[in-house]
Symmetry: C2
């Protein structure tokens, strides 16, 4: 396949447009004008987020196929919308492409992106293509909608709230370590394969965020892009509170437990510090616990675990059989 | 000043947040949560665009100060909103920063951005910061609002429409060539200084786009990011029409005329092919010409010139004393 630079921007935009299905009626103008135009959903507020992936910072092309890179660039944004309780409505894709990137890679990346965009409702409505004299960079802006009173914020937790988390933790961090160690994909067991899949193809908890937002049972929510430790630090800080997590309750992914244990690392510490699981954490007042758990039961077999609580004394702690130790700092992309 | 990588992402976000003033009431959640939340303007549709600048593709740090780079990254997006007739409401800023970028440069870039964001109404409500193992990259998403029936599209022109353009052309292209030639800024005359300023600090025609949109006098609009030739090609193509521009009417910037003439280049060809002027082109039915010109008189001393018309025969032509020659292709960033 020819390198994309032989095509030029207009031909590439046309190539991209052909890979995108017809938009829903709420998209008044999609790809091709100076800007995209959306009809806002009645009675909702507009939720906007942007996040990106940079080659050799967030992914390595030698390890990960373009389709997975494209989908992940959108998924990390969908996770931010989920943490607000917002339903995805549209997205914009900005690509800076190295000269050697070829058309097959471009098509694969776009297909991975568009496939998730169509499944999630985050219709691709616009974007930008440019060359990169350095790494491949993918910047995505996602747009969502939510009724104002169903919005989930991160700064509205209170002392006494319990902390809940979706899914299992540490899988993405273990998957990344496996790739770094040069693991042979064909030989891994199911638990390790789940870690690789979580790192490369994270799934945003859109349905759960929306359902919990609608239930109005959570006092705050945040996604775990930078890991659980970082997330609970932030929820606690903006509540002027501290947080204590119960080590025995942390749902560590099976493959992450095996990976960490095999290397003499405490699996719980590994799981709480590891980033990129893209699960959600919620703060919930104990008197709303029943309503919250009732709502989460409708989140399609998604495990939800109570792992700790906000306390009056500042600081962030992990409690193991009553012994407290400081929570590690979050995962650092920078 | 220390390089930004010694600070980490959280500290940088905090540094950025301190440089942004309090947002207007329509911004329900600004910087600091998982996503930004806006209250949509009643009776409007939502206009979204994304565009970016990549070091050594769109700018060179040796030539241009960080404040100008930050402002230009937003301005190119405001130009897209202007071409839709939309009023800027919010923006998101995504930065991929090289390791050697230092805090003073970061502050300057952010200040340049924020200053224009506040002047234009495109309040900075969110973004993303990451490292770049290569060039500095700045991706911006701008959000605007416009009443649905005042929206300007690019694909709604008709054969017989006249083409108008704002401002003067070729200045940005001449400014770029001057910088490439290693011109000494201190020695240039006013006309050349205007070219440098247009290249480095383009001004989006926001007020003009909004006023023309409100007048409902234009049948189509587009901005000149890739030059006039490219813009009129696109307007004509999506109308299934051709276009003839009148060479004598093209408003060539004085500095561009001098630059091109001095190098044996036809100034009109230079001006119509050159990109990055960020002026607007409009297609206007002759029976709405009066209304259109009446509206543009309210665009704060902005020159608006009739330069050609859409014709039934496909193709794009420049007419010089009745002799037709093909319009050059547009400016290519890719």
């Amino acid at each position: 396949m020819p390198p994309i630079r032989t095509l030029g921007e207009h031909a590439l935009v046309e190539r991209l447009r052909q890979r995108v299905g017809p938009p829903p009626a709420s998209v008044l103008i999609g790809i091709g004008d100076d800007a995209a135009v959306l009809e806002p959903d009645r009675g909702t507020v507009q939720v906007l987020t942007t996040d990106g992936l940079v080659e050799d910072v967030h992914f390595t092309r030698a390890w990960t196929r373009p389709a997975a890179i494209g989908a992940k660039a959108l998924a990390v944004n969908l996770s931010d919308l989920a943490a607000m309780g917002a339903t995805p409505r549209a997205s914009l894709l900005s690509l800076a492409l190295p000269d050697a990137f070829d058309c097959a890679e471009f098509d694969e990346l776009v297909d991975g992106y568009v496939s998730l965009a169509e499944r999630s409702g985050a219709t691709l409505v616009g974007g930008n293509l440019t060359r990169s004299p350095g790494p491949l960079m993918i910047d995505v802006t996602a747009v969502g909608a939510v009724a104002r009173r169903r919005l989930l914020r991160r700064d509205t937790a209170r002392v006494g709230d319990e902390i809940f988390v979706t899914g299992v933790l540490g899988a993405a961090a273990a998957g990344l370590e496996m790739l770094r160690s040069g693991i042979a994909r064909m030989g891994v067991d199911d638990a390790a394969a789940a870690c690789l899949a979580r790192y490369e193809s994270p799934e945003a908890r859109t349905r759960c965020g929306v359902i919990v937002g609608r239930s109005r049972a959570a006092s705050a929510a945040i996604d775990l892009s930078d890991g659980l430790a970082d997330a609970v630090h932030r929820i606690a800080e903006s509540a002027g509170a501290g947080v204590v997590l119960d080590a025995e309750q942390i749902p560590v992914a099976e493959g992450a437990r095996a990976w960490a244990s095999g290397r003499g690392i405490d699996p719980v510490m590994f799981a709480v510090a590891g980033g990129e699981d893209y699960e959600l954490a919620f703060a919930v007042s104990p008197r709303r616990r029943g309503r919250f758990l009732g709502a989460t039961r409708r989140c399609r077999n998604l495990q939800v675990t109570r792992i700790g609580r906000l306390v009056a004394d500042r600081g962030a702690w992990l409690s193991t059989s009553g012994r407290l130790e400081p929570l590690p700092a979050g995962f650092v992309h920078f």
